[in-house]
């Protein structure tokens, strides 16, 4: 899952980038409203973590312009102003969740997953498709009752496909999910991960849509 983190404190931004990265998210870190708006215009994110007090304005302005463009990307506000009126103002401005500083990294990760899950219209935390169950919280996958061992990136590719089971996901979109700005994309990485996933879950689990990308195959197909 690719997350935009907007936070102006360098130590906290570093902590969020590393910490949420360890929790399986792909993070794009920015530290101002202008950079955030530019990133949002250039890239689709699964969720945005937004600080309110930024050097060149308020995070609420970013949120307002996002919602003004009918962009429903889940937004989690992260701020030191966490009194009830602040929370109400934030949520009413279109935020999906509100976390006061200081916060617990694991809780923040869980709230992010929940926000993304609600964003994709699912009620349960785990993803399921044809006997394969994926738990994004503890990064485990089950095929039937047997656990399947997946690397972080294999998990991310599988999660991206399972979140929209009937949709075809382009290779570029999968690469976006896997790599933040600072990471160099390896040219055939996605193919390699798909190959490994087919080995682990069965060759017919993921279907290649020629010239476009990948999708999960229908039952019995």
């Amino acid at each position: 899952m690719r997350i935009l983190v907007v936070e102006d404190d360098p130590m906290l931004l570093d902590g969020l980038t590393v910490g949420l990265g360890l929790a399986g998210f792909t993070i794009d870190p920015v530290s101002s409203c202008a950079d955030a708006s530019a990133a949002i215009a250039a890239q689709r994110y699964d969720a945005i973590v937004l600080d309110l007090m930024l050097p060149d304005g308020s995070g609420l302005d970013v949120l307002a312009s996002l919602r003004g463009k009918k962009d429903l990307t889940p937004v989690l506000l992260l701020t030191a102003r966490d009194q009830v009126p602040d929370r109400i103002a934030g949520l009413d401005a279109g935020a999906d969740d509100y976390v006061g500083k200081p916060f617990d990294l694991d809780e923040l990760a869980a709230r992010l997953r929940a926000a993304v899950r609600r964003g994709t219209g699912r009620a349960t935390a785990s993803l399921e498709w044809r006997g394969v169950v994926l738990d994004p919280a503890d990064k485990t996958a089950l095929k039937g009752d047997a656990p399947v061992k997946l690397t972080r990136r294999e998990f991310a590719v599988l999660q991206a496909l399972m979140e929209r089971p009937s949709a075809t996901v382009s290779k570029a979109a999968l690469e976006d999910t896997l790599y933040g700005w600072q990471e160099e994309v390896e040219s055939n990485a996605v193919e390699v991960h798909i190959h490994h996933l087919r080995n682990k879950l069965g060759t017919d689990f993921i279907k290649t849509v020629r010239g476009f990308g990948y999708r999960l195959s229908e039952e019995g197909a």
């Binding site: 102006d8 404190d9 360890l22 500083k101």
Partner: protein, 453 residues
């Protein structure tokens, strides 16, 4: 505790009572002299009337009669009738006649005119007319005791209603004072019912003009206190928020350090924590500096200060900080004389400016401190070759907690604010400008007053 109401009541009742007393005395005296005057006139008139009756021989003088002396009969009985007594004596000392109730003793032994005589313990006032032709003296007198009771009756009639009115008057004074002071009472009542933190303005419309200045002054005070409290509240809230962010960073980094088994991630998190604690400690120190700056309202005490030595020692203190990123700090001084200054605030300003310059310098950069003077001003300019401040932000750099786009990783947004407040406290000011082609200059300007040698 003195009460305006009881003072007013005492004063009003006291003065009213005194006026009443003086009026009563005046009335008594006036009535008395008037009554005396009238009664004396009556005596004179009566004596002359009897005399003229005798002269005209309308009444017969019973010169030879010894027995009865009721020479003036026919008066109708009335309370005042008894008051006048008339005697007619022959010039050789024989009682020729007397009125019905006249005493037998001679009313007066004096000659013509008024006289007073005591007969059987009763004092008589007598008017005597001598009729030389008939050889008699006509004496008409009345009892002084009766005169006094007459005066007493008149005075009593005048003073008694006044005495009876006095308590009613006191009651009315009490009520009037109470009513007159009711705006004051209402104000006191409103204030005493208020909670300590209720600093709303008192209603200022429809006030009597005596209270309006007090209420306006009170409202002004309320406003100033409320503003000071609001400033303090917003500062505290702001400070708490500013502390929450580094705390969140510290917690996040600590959780990374705890949760990651990757040696490099672990080490990086610990480095971040260490730097974060330094930064937070500095923020706390600056908050304390700011609080002490704003809390002290005593006039600064000026002592001779060697500006160059002060700048040098601050540069020395911050040497380790500059050394971390190989930043060179140079001092250029064109001022060798001691100046009159408040050393603590002066040093605080210089230190914060220097720290700011070091934090914004690129690695290996140069920070220059110039101490200069003119006839009236002492200036300390601190220049760095960092990225400067975008022009639109230049006017905001000394706002508390303001951190612009080109912020340093360790700043708190307080340094320049502290410098500016410190300078304002000692009568100086701060000037901020960008340098060309790059960098930032903060200049501290304060009045130059040469120290006495």
């Amino acid at each position: 505790m003195t009460s305006i109401r009881s003072r007013l009541i005492t004063i009003l009742i006291g003065t009213t009572g005194l006026v009443w007393l003086l009026a009563a005395i005046w009335i008594y005296q006036g009535t008395r002299s008037e009554v005396e005057h009238v009664l004396d006139a009556r005596l004179t008139e009566a004596a002359r009337m009897v005399n003229s009756l005798l002269t005209d021989q309308r009444i017969e003088l019973a010169m030879t009669q010894d027995d009865d002396a009721s020479a003036v009969p026919g008066f109708v009985e009335s309370p005042y009738q008894r008051q006048l007594s008339c005697q007619i004596w022959s010039l050789n000392g024989k009682l020729v006649g007397r009125s019905e109730n006249a005493p037998e003793a001679k009313l007066s032994s004096a000659g013509e005119g008024f006289s007073e005589t005591t007969i059987d313990g009763e004092v008589w006032r007598v008017y005597t007319v001598e009729n030389a032709r008939l050889g008699v003296r006509v004496m008409v007198g009345d009892s002084v005791h009766i005169r006094d009771s007459l005066v007493g009756g008149v005075v009593k009639g005048l003073v008694l209603p006044g005495v009876l009115i006095l308590p009613i008057l006191a009651g009315m004074i009490w009520l009037s004072v109470r009513r007159g002071l009711s705006p004051l009472n209402m104000m006191a009542d409103t204030l005493s019912k208020r909670r300590a933190n209720d600093l709303r303005e008192l209603p200022a419309t429809g006030l009597p003009k005596e209270i309006a200045p007090a209420v306006n002054a009170l409202n002004g005070l309320f406003k100033r206190v409320e503003e000071a409290r609001e400033r303090e509240r917003s500062f505290t809230a702001f400070a708490a928020h500013e502390l929450k962010t580094p705390l969140a960073g510290l917690k996040t980094q600590a959780q990374i350090a705890l949760g990651s088994s990757d040696r490099q991630v672990h080490a990086n998190a610990l480095r971040q924590i260490s730097a974060g604690v330094d930064r937070t400690a500095r923020l706390v120190k600056q908050l304390l500096d700011l609080t002490s700056l704003e809390a002290s309202d005593a006039a600064p005490v000026l002592v001779p200060v060697d500006a160059k030595a002060l700048v040098d020692s601050t540069v020395g203190e911050l040497g380790p900080l500059a050394g971390l990123r190989s930043i060179k700090v140079e001092t250029v001084a064109e001022c060798d004389e001691k100046v009159m200054a408040e050393p603590h605030f002066f040093a605080l300003a210089v230190r914060n400016l220097l720290e700011n310059a070091i934090n914004h310098s690129p690695e290996g950069g140069v920070v220059t401190c110039c101490v200069g003077q003119s006839d009236t001003k002492l200036t300390v300019s601190i220049e760095d070759d960092g990225s400067g401040v975008p022009e639109p932000e230049l006017s905001r750099v000394s706002e508390k907690f303001f951190r612009g786009r080109n912020k340093s990783s360790t700043g708190s947004g307080l340094g320049l604010a502290i410098a500016e407040i410190a300078m304002a406290r000692i009568g100086g000011e701060m000037r901020f400008q960008n340098r060309q082609p790059q960098g930032f200059t903060a200049t501290l300007v304060m009045p130059f007053e040469k120290a006495p040698t």
